[in-house]
Subunit: 490 residues, 2 copies
Amino acid sequence: MDGSHWVGVKAIAEEMGRRGHQVTVVIPEVSMRLGPSSHCRTVSYPVPYGQETVDMLMDKHKDNIRAATLPLVERMTHHMANIQSVSSFILTTAESLLFNTTLITSLEQQGFDAVLTDPLVPTGSLIARRLGVPSVCLLRGIPCGLDLAAAACPSPPSYVPRFFTRYTHSMSFPQRVGNVLVSLVEPLLCRLLYWRFDQLANRFLGEDVGVAEVLADTALWLLRYDFTLEFPRPLMPNMVLVGGINCHIRNPLAQELEQWVSGDHGFIVFSLGSMVSSLPEDITQVFLRAFTLIPQKVLWRYTGPVPGNVPDNVKMMKWLPQNDLLAHRGARAFLTHSGTHGLYEGVCHAVPMVMLPLFGDQPDNAQRLASKGVGVVLDIKHVTVETLLQALDNVVNNPRYKSSVLKLSAIHKDHPVDPLELSVYWTEFVMRHKGAGHLRAAAQDLNWFQYHSLDVIGLLIVVAMAVVMVTLKCLSLCVRRFTTRKTKQD
Amino acid sequence: MDGSHWVGVKAIAEEMGRRGHQVTVVIPEVSMRLGPSSHCRTVSYPVPYGQETVDMLMDKHKDNIRAATLPLVERMTHHMANIQSVSSFILTTAESLLFNTTLITSLEQQGFDAVLTDPLVPTGSLIARRLGVPSVCLLRGIPCGLDLAAAACPSPPSYVPRFFTRYTHSMSFPQRVGNVLVSLVEPLLCRLLYWRFDQLANRFLGEDVGVAEVLADTALWLLRYDFTLEFPRPLMPNMVLVGGINCHIRNPLAQELEQWVSGDHGFIVFSLGSMVSSLPEDITQVFLRAFTLIPQKVLWRYTGPVPGNVPDNVKMMKWLPQNDLLAHRGARAFLTHSGTHGLYEGVCHAVPMVMLPLFGDQPDNAQRLASKGVGVVLDIKHVTVETLLQALDNVVNNPRYKSSVLKLSAIHKDHPVDPLELSVYWTEFVMRHKGAGHLRAAAQDLNWFQYHSLDVIGLLIVVAMAVVMVTLKCLSLCVRRFTTRKTKQD
């Protein structure tokens, strides 16, 4: 998995390497942000596209924001075309790895102890199955709940809000209806998301299995969340929470930056994540106009062409040391797209947030944190100078937000073992205990009919009905005999 | 909670005290094994019975073993009388505490941060509610599943075996039928077990609540098991596994004992736990005769009158340093009643076991460990010299058992944080975060109808039926109109 998904995998891989494990990272020759990591050996494989294809895909998000103003049909066509091109890209990348016979054979020969992967794109899980090696999956969650289904983890729709619904754990009746409906279409969504990978699994593994069966092999799930962002829900024994994995990986600011951010009014960190490098011109102008009206300085991660009218208190940078900036005592607010990495960094350093969710799990994340009072949510497609100023003023000056985020931060940082340490521990655990099969629930061997005891309930109903009918029959016979005798006596 | 339940609570209380917390332990003046602990302040309250009542109750287990040979009706009467006297005893103890106004008022005034208790007897949980203080519950499990219900923890009967069934997680169809039936009668069993405490809760708290509601207040569940003894099952975020809490609390053997146990053939540790101090004479003789025929020495915890014919290789002692003995390299086998504390000590030190379960969760525990190949189960009521010798020979000489227990031991001891350390950590966590309400699932606010989305499903069915009916009606109207028109045309 490329993009922000790489952050956590890289952190664990590097830490494993640092501890003396031999770690091999397999990446495509061309990517968004994959690259060599320290303490690891990197193996790259050729792909039939160039860097310009990747850049073009990353630029699509700008189009998406712009597309918000299009009429419905055009907007749908636009989004479908987008999804089509992204999924083709992902599939091409996967095929380039899976059907690179030399590379796969070489991997097979090296006798690995475990595969670490983000299974949102299940290439790594497929390789783990082919190699017969236990897999450790690091992820935020698969939108259609395939991860939970694969781990046989209960997820009652009555209080576990589904992806994309923006519900919290406490739902009204109409919301519960909505949530149940979403949970009913989840299997269909999984089919839609993974049908091409199902075919790929079939071809690559030479057996009649789909992604669901392959993910059910997962020895351990490292889940990139905790109960500051998620709502309390059941978990299985082979699920470990490691939210905030990169909170403590930090360095002092470069001297020039340190000087720039210093000042009485503090500063605001603004980033829409690694996937969105620039914004449509008109939206950029809204932000710039709002920033001229605030006393804080603004550090903005922006890789597009820098506009002419950037005010003095704004610094646009191609890359931000985001975690180091948020950890700085001068950080007053965090303008974020609500990716989990960014949110956890914000929570870790107790910085109130203005959230501008774009896609994926971001709207849900934003809603959840807003429900905990640590920030406000804005719709970036319709943002105005007024709403932005109002939001910034709120989170910077209303002490309620700071106090809520401080409370959440204290909870987030309070764990017996640091999330990165814990991730490494459990990865090693899987290696030490050859896949740790003792953590695998027997539920995984049941079909859904058996899992819900429907066969047993069916039998019990039949037996109960038989008992009732026999009893009724006996009673009616008795009554009839009694009345007949009585009639005779009369 | 008295008896073996005290072991874990005491360990945590002492460790909390050692770290500088002010810990107050509230115990009755007379008990089985409760007493002052280091680093804690002990407050005792008067009870309307003497030590002889307690001793008599503990001796009842001997009667129970003897009662196994009685005819069914007498046996049932015997057991009912036993249950009656034990539950009266427990209730009297609870009432002596709850209605000791001076003590309760003094507790109310001290401003505690948390209550640590074993909720099998829910006195501590009642006090926590009265004091408005978060409670931390340390327990193995409540036989009727009231703990899981209170925490809204899913427990599908299709693969989570119920107490007393002796099933494993992998059940045949008839076993699943049995397990579902047991799960159906669980609520009734809870009523039977706790109806007197429900009344007590009512009287003590002055509100219309039962034990179930009071247990639902529990901030954190410290569960005295792990997945070496239990089978993988869903857990809630406020449940922490701390099985094997006392594995590492150990001391070197006294010199005299060290000398006695030394020898080429090693020794066997024999204890039926703190609740059973002696055995019926005929069963004692079976053990003694078998022990004369084995080369190992035997250390036997036995508090009754010592018989005349104890062989040289057997040492009967009123108290055994059980954990220290099992940790000794000479330990060859462990004859145990299969209480969890003993089993975890056996697993911790990788000693194969002959299990003689007596009551409560012991038959289940024994079955589970036997299913993992670390020992054999015998029925103590019908044990013979031959079966005992056979069992001992098996676990001592068949390397299969040692190898299985070594594997299980490695898993049991492999955790990122020591269970005692973890217990203290989470207890402090609850104190730091004022009850840690963020770990409480919203499921606890739903009734079972809502929890299972039955209201939503009902609505969906009604809507679906309405849609189908309206569609059919429309179709039939269309068809009729069409045919009428056709007839007219004809």
